[in-house]
């Protein structure tokens, strides 16, 4: 198994653990403006994805991401299946030559493109797009213009996503279930933007670990040890 492959498997497991931890919080957010199923759906889907990628015989990054996406698609009923899972499947070929700053930027852009295309949402609609757009643009610029390392760029992207999540609170929903509420959606944080941020935070944690000590990544997917990383904003 390549180090990139190990990192990809570790990332899926880290996301599964985090979403499980945040399950009731996500459900609370979704019960305010949706149908209260985001926490449960995502937790079930990512747990199944972690199991599926642990069973892969040759877990290269593209294959890991594709398997995680396919599992989310079949396990997560509702819009989260196609949005989170379908977009992972669609963007996975960008990682065929491994995980670099450039391939990650291409992956992120393709993922975002699919989310926007499928959900037909723009910035300001109070959806995951509000977290994704600033994050993806920040990552791409940090890598391609500012010559940052992928980990530095991801840290900046996470900070941008966080601001995007905050931005969903005061605005009115124009897409998704929350849009049926009209003005009553104002004042509530978007669950999909929030889970997108959690996923990115876990990617950053794993990327930092991988960056510092790739040899210490677990060979066996069953025992991931991912310590909390400290993120310095710059």
């Amino acid at each position: 198994m390549s180090d990139d492959g190990k990192a990809a498997v570790a990332a899926v497991e880290a996301v599964a653990d985090r979403i499980q931890d945040e399950r009731s919080h996500l459900t609370d957010l979704d019960s305010a403006i949706g149908d209260a199923d985001h926490g449960g759906n995502m937790a079930r889907g990512w747990a199944a994805a972690a199991e599926a990628v642990a069973d892969l015989e040759d877990p290269e990054p593209a294959a890991v991401v594709k398997m995680a996406g396919k599992t989310l698609l079949s396990e997560v009923g509702g819009a989260s299946g196609p949005l989170f899972g379908g977009s992972l499947v669609f963007a996975s070929p960008e990682l065929e030559d491994g995980i670099t700053g450039e391939s990650s930027a291409a992956f992120a852009e393709t993922y975002l493109e699919k989310v926007q295309d499928r959900g037909d949402a723009r910035v300001g609609d109070k959806t995951m797009v509000d977290a994704l757009v600033p994050a993806v643009h920040t990552f791409k610029k940090s890598v391609e213009v500012d010559d940052m390392t992928p980990v530095e760029a991801l840290a900046k992207a996470v900070a941008a996503a966080e601001r995007g999540v905050d931005f969903t609170v005061p605005i009115r929903a124009s897409k998704g279930r929350a849009s049926y509420l009209g003005w009553r959606s104002v004042g509530h944080q978007d669950p999909g933007a929030t889970s997108t941020l959690y996923i990115m935070e876990e990617l950053l944690d794993v990327a930092m670990e991988y960056d510092e000590a790739p040899d210490e990544l677990p060979d066996h997917a069953e025992s991931p040890t991912i310590p909390d990383g400290e993120v310095t904003e710059n």
Binding site: D37, N41, R44, S74, G77, G78, A79, P82, R118
Partner: protein, 126 residues
Amino acid sequence: MVGLVVVSHSQTAADGIAEVAAEMGGETRIEPVGSDGQGGFGTVASDIERAIAEADSGDGVVVLVDLGSAVMNAEVAIETSDAEAVIADAPVLEGTVNAAVAATSSKASLESVREQAEAARGIQKR
């Protein structure tokens, strides 16, 4: 013969709509599909893909959808399906009834059935 798939967040609603349309649609194959697969409301792409395969007899399938994720999951199902399938941008019940009738025409095609389903957007109740 062009087949139909009715996608709703509720299996009960999908079954009911298929039932109403079958009354008018003669031998048209109508496959209802719904629910999140866990007994709750929702739609699942792989379930829709299976329904498309069931409804297809070689002439293609028109997919009628209710709201939100039903549209997205139907799109994913169509992308991964071997059958030729299209979504009708139509009200799900009226569109299904129109499509079921249109499919019984000897000149019916995938496009003509979709057009008839979409013509249901203009239906006025009184």
